[in-house]
């Protein structure tokens, strides 16, 4: 197998230069913001300075909401709970134990530890395998309610409805607090910016776009979400700690769900998924509220409410994208060319670890699947070896896709056992099955429309190469087979193109390349040739044959195109009404009376058979 020609030298330094300039952009903006923070107290009136301190801290929490919601797709009303936990850590310790430096440090750590623990618990509850997004949002809504109620029930200890006040705190001037809060906001914003632009940040977008695809690429989505929640919870708690220290008052309202929903409103109005939008939105709205709600008490909140509903219905991306579109038009940019990494050949190890080859690549015994009283699969039993290319045929509704699912997701089947590379997948979720060596390609092109080709492939490599939290890698390692697919279909020239702009055939090829990037030892393909041209089909066929012959993969194919099957398959399994009716060579199948009758009196099938 000839190796891929080394990527041309030109793009790499250019791409690297663009990345460096983007880092410089972030640093530049941060520096400018810090300067503004520094001179703020000198030029702004006292009332505005006091307000901005609060607004800065709210903006930090709004940022965390944007990361969770705008980037990862988790609609959360619960960040206020973590803010409240941080605030009450300070309030409780300063009130009941007095204020000393040690106590301040204790309160700080307590806030972080408690909020992280609560976040982990909430994550476990809300992000389990198969949880619906609605349930997750409901749990995040319930959390601040519970926290507020616990605070209410605390009697004199937590101050109940009164909250706690009059406790001693850091002896710092308001000006200094302004600098502290402002710097905190700038740091968190800059950090968040770098994070979402990094490779790890792209994983969040992938999860938002297509969670199922991520699972089947071996990414443990639950764990990612829980981790993200814990980190954002800690950041919110730190903001809460600062808030309590400067205000010297804590009250249950700051942990409650009205505040939690206000955060969502600010993020929605500012522009979800843009980071800067929510920050500016929060600052503007909070400061305006302070000035206007005294004079226009009823109308201001009404205006916000109406704006919010309008934005959700008509402008779901918020106001920020409108602004940036103006900027972009001014700069005459159009779709900015994404800097693409260079492609390189990966050091392949498809049979490493759990994916190691065993006696059988695939072994099913007594597999059954039923939905209520409807029996979809019954008594499925077969084995397959490495280097085998096995086709699964049968009329629609025979259970082919269900069988595929049973191989890639341990929770799918109702009974029986499935062994991949001699490992019993038991009830393992899809991301675990990927570790066993399974790679599944879906029937309809199941890709990440909002990402670029290169980013999609990078996501596919996540399990094998942990992505950076700060930067984008300059090069992308892909196994040989994936590279071949990219080259054969011309995708290697379109690394920077957004997936939504690809043709159907190209999307199919990209998905195949992504699955191959997993370095699977067992490849499950659901109608890979659907919608492809003749030439594309031939290419795919060649690739698949090579995969089994040269690389020793076991490939299981669901197909309707019998010509294709005949060309590449060594073995065919015919499925009918959930049972295997025939397991043999192509000739066996073609000559079988039984198969003919199954396909109900001819039509296209009998013409093919002739």
């Amino acid at each position: 197998m000839s190796s891929v020609p080394a990527a041309p030298a030109a793009p790499a330094p250019a791409a690297a230069a663009r990345r460096r300039s983007s880092v410089r952009l972030v640093l530049g903006f941060s520096a400018a913001a810090l300067v503004l923070v520094a001179i703020g107290p000198a030029i702004l009136p006292d009332f505005m300075v006091n307000n901005l301190i609060r607004a800065f801290l709210y903006a930090v929490v709004a940022l965390t909401v944007d990361i969770l919601w705008g980037y990862t797709g988790i609609l959360t009303f619960g960040q206020s709970a973590f803010f409240g936990i941080g605030a009450y850590s300070a309030g409780l310790i300063f009130t009941h134990m007095g204020f000393t430096f040690e106590h301040a440090a204790l309160a700080f750590s307590a806030g972080i530890v408690v909020s992280a623990a609560v976040a982990a618990l909430v994550g476990w509850l809300a992000f389990y395998q198969g949880a619906s997004p609605l349930y997750a949002s409901v749990v995040t809504l319930v959390l601040p309610i519970i926290v507020a109620q616990v605070l209410y029930s605390g009697g004199n200890f937590t101050g109940s409805s009164s909250g706690l006040s009059g406790f001693e705190s850091f002896d710092i001037e308001m000006h200094t607090w302004f600098w502290i809060a402002g710097t905190f906001l700038v740091i968190v914003t800059a950090g968040a910016w770098m994070f979402v632009r990094s490779d790890a940040g792209r994983v969040l977008v992938a999860i938002r776009e297509n969670e199922a695809r991520c699972e089947y690429l071996g990414i443990d989505v639950s764990r990612v979400k829980i981790l993200l929640l814990v980190v954002t919870a800690v950041i919110a708690a730190i903001a809460g700690y600062a808030f309590a220290s400067v205000q010297m008052v804590v009250a249950p309202e700051y942990a409650g769900f009205v505040f939690g929903t206000e955060l969502v409103i600010w993020v929605a109005l500012g522009g979800r998924g843009t980071l800067i939008g929510p920050v500016i939105g929060t600052l503007l709205i909070d400061v305006s509220t302070a000035y206007l709600s005294g004079d226009l008490p009823y109308y201001w909140k009404l205006i916000i409410g109406v704006a919010f509903v309008l934005v959700i219905v008509a402008l779901p991306r918020g106001i920020a994208p409108l602004v940036t579109r103006l900027f972009r038009r001014a700069r005459k940019g159009g779709e900015a060319a994404q800097d693409s990494p260079a492609l390189r050949k990966a050091q392949e190890e498809p049979f490493a670890g759990l994916a190691g080859g065993g006696h059988h690549a695939i072994a099913l015994a007594g597999v059954r699947k039923h939905f209520g009283s409807l029996q979809v699969l019954e008594g499925i039993e077969f084995t397959a070896q490495r280097g085998e290319l096995l086709s699964l045929v049968g009329p629609n509704g025979a259970g082919k896709t269900t069988l595929m699912r049973c191989l890639a997701d341990g929770a799918e089947r109702s009974a029986g056992s499935v062994l991949i590379n001699d490992h019993d997948i038991a009830r393992a979720p899809p991301c675990q099955c990927v570790a066993f060596g399974v790679g599944r390609k879906f029937q309809n092109a199941n890709t990440f429309d909002a990402l670029t080709v290169a980013e999609s492939l990078r996501i596919a490599r996540t399990r094998l190469e942990a992505p950076s939290l700060w930067t984008r890698a300059g090069s992308l390692d892909l196994p040989d087979a994936a590279l071949k697919v990219m080259q054969a279909t011309g995708l290697d020239q379109r690394l920077g193109m957004q997936v939504r702009h690809l043709s159907h055939g190209q999307k199919q090829a990209l998905e195949l390349a992504m699955v191959l990037a997993l370095e699977p030892s067992v490849l499950l393909l659901d109608e890979p040739t659907a919608g492809l041209t003749k030439q594309e089909r031939t290419q795919i066929g060649q690739i698949l044959t090579e995969l089994t012959a040269k690389h020793g993969l076991c490939v299981l194919l669901v197909e309707h195109d019998l010509d294709f099957v005949r060309e590449i398959s060594s073995r065919v399994i015919v499925l009918h009404q959930g049972r295997i009716v025939l397991d043999g060579t192509v000739t066996d199948v073609v000559e079988s009376e039984l198969v003919r009758t199954i396909y109900a009196g001819g039509g296209a099938m009998s013409a093919r058979l002739a």
């Binding site: 109940s160 409805s161 009164s162 009059g166 009250a251 700051y254 302070a290 009823y298």
Partner: protein
């Protein structure tokens, strides 16, 4: 009754009045009034604002304070901590008021005090409360438990031979503080407390607590809830559940009692003001209020009359100090006394004031019949560290 409209009308009138009365020389004196226009205190707040308005009008008619016009700045503190922070902040730092004179829930007061300290603004607190709130800038001209609880408990023990009591309150500093004092007093007098239950300030469902009350079968009930709304919901639900034991309410004012309608009949209250107090200053006051507000008058009560007197106390203090400088005014406030509807009041006992207290019972028509009177009751040791 549809106050949205009347607020608008009032705003227009006020604007017209301000536009018309432009004959003042120096900068006006601003009095900040953070009060619960929404939330638990919203039933009572309008009466407080009215008292302040009458006081301001009367003072301005006689030339203002040191020749300067008195202007009121009202802000909504939401009857709670978070709202109070915003209200106090806005009044002290944005509107730059010279003094704060108002009644609020203890939650709001506690949240506002750090801002008062930071802004170095005198604060005359005009609401009865649980006591022992001390701050360099704070004065209180309303009663504390040391002045108010004894009459009710003594009366119950004497007239009803009540030995066992059940206590119900709103869960915050005031509710807990009042009932803690009450419990100590009951036990000191040889009585027994069978139960003490709390609901958060904004809670409206007293079902479980009423259930416990009925199970305990006490001789008498004493309650201390926040402001107006919790009083009304509790009383309504108590009556609906058929509770008829002697009921002492430490925290209800006459106006709220009136709005409870027939449900309030028989409730015992103890306070420093009732509308039928027989002295000439009170009659003058009531006449003036009736004249100014007519049909939209909210019944003056034990939370709104101290507001009227507080504004006058401030006037006297500024005149004595010769300026609005905070430190001078703070010193002067302890030295001036004002003769108002509640009699002669001077805040000279550790920032609090000796007051004449009355024990009354609500009648079927909502009015209060005064049963006993106690002259010049001492507030006790409220702020021993402040002189």
């Amino acid at each position: 009754m549809l106050s949205g409209k009347s607020n608008l009308c009032f705003a227009l009138l006020a604007a017209a009045a301000l536009a018309g009365g432009g004959a003042w020389a120096a900068e006006p004196i601003k009095i900040g009034i953070p009060v619960g226009l929404s939330g638990a205190n919203s039933v009572v707040a309008p009466s407080v604002v009215q008292s302040a308005e009458l006081a301001a009008e009367e003072i301005n008619a006689k030339g203002g304070i040191l020749g300067r016009q008195v202007v009121l700045e009202v802000a909504d503190d939401g009857s709670g901590a978070a709202g109070a922070q915003k209200a106090f902040d806005s009044l002290i730092f944005q509107k730059k008021v010279n003094v704060l004179i108002s009644m609020e829930t203890s939650a709001a007061r506690n949240a506002g005090l750090p801002i008062v300290t930071r802004g170095k603004t005198p604060f005359i607190y005009t609401s009865f409360y649980e006591g022992r709130s001390c701050n360099k800038y704070l004065y209180v001209n309303a009663w504390v438990p040391d002045q108010q609880v004894a009459p009710i408990v003594d009366y119950f023990m004497k007239k009803y031979n009540a030995k066992t009591y059940f206590l119900v309150g709103s869960d915050y500093a005031f509710g807990r503080g009042m009932l803690e004092f009450t419990r100590k007093y009951i036990e000191k007098k040889g009585g027994k407390v069978l139960g003490e239950e709390y609901l958060p300030m904004d809670g409206t469902d007293w079902t479980a607590i009423i259930g416990k009350l009925k199970t305990a079968k006490p001789d008498a009930l004493i309650t201390s809830t926040a402001g107006g709304a919790p009083n009304v919901t509790l009383t309504k639900q108590l009556r609906a559940a058929g509770v008829t034991i002697p009921y002492g309410n430490l925290a209800v004012d006459e106006g709220t009692a009136k709005s409870m309608g027939g449900d309030a009949d028989g409730i015992y209250i103890s306070g420093s003001y009732f509308t039928n107090i027989d002295n000439p200053k009170n009659k003058e006051f009531l006449t003036a209020m009736q004249k100014k507000f007519g049909a939209s008058l909210k019944t003056p009560n034990d939370l709104s009359v101290p507001q009227y007197e507080g504004v006058y106390a401030y006037k006297l203090a500024v005149e004595k100090a010769g300026s609005t400088d905070a430190d001078k005014v703070i010193k002067a406030l302890a030295e001036v006394s004002f003769e108002g509807p509640r009699g002669k009041i001077q805040m000279n006992k550790q920032r609090h004031a000796p007051l004449t207290m009355y024990l009354g019972q609500v009648q079927k028509d909502g009015s209060v019949k005064i049963l006993e009177t106690f002259k010049d009751v001492d507030p006790g040791d409220q702020c021993p560290k402040l002189k």
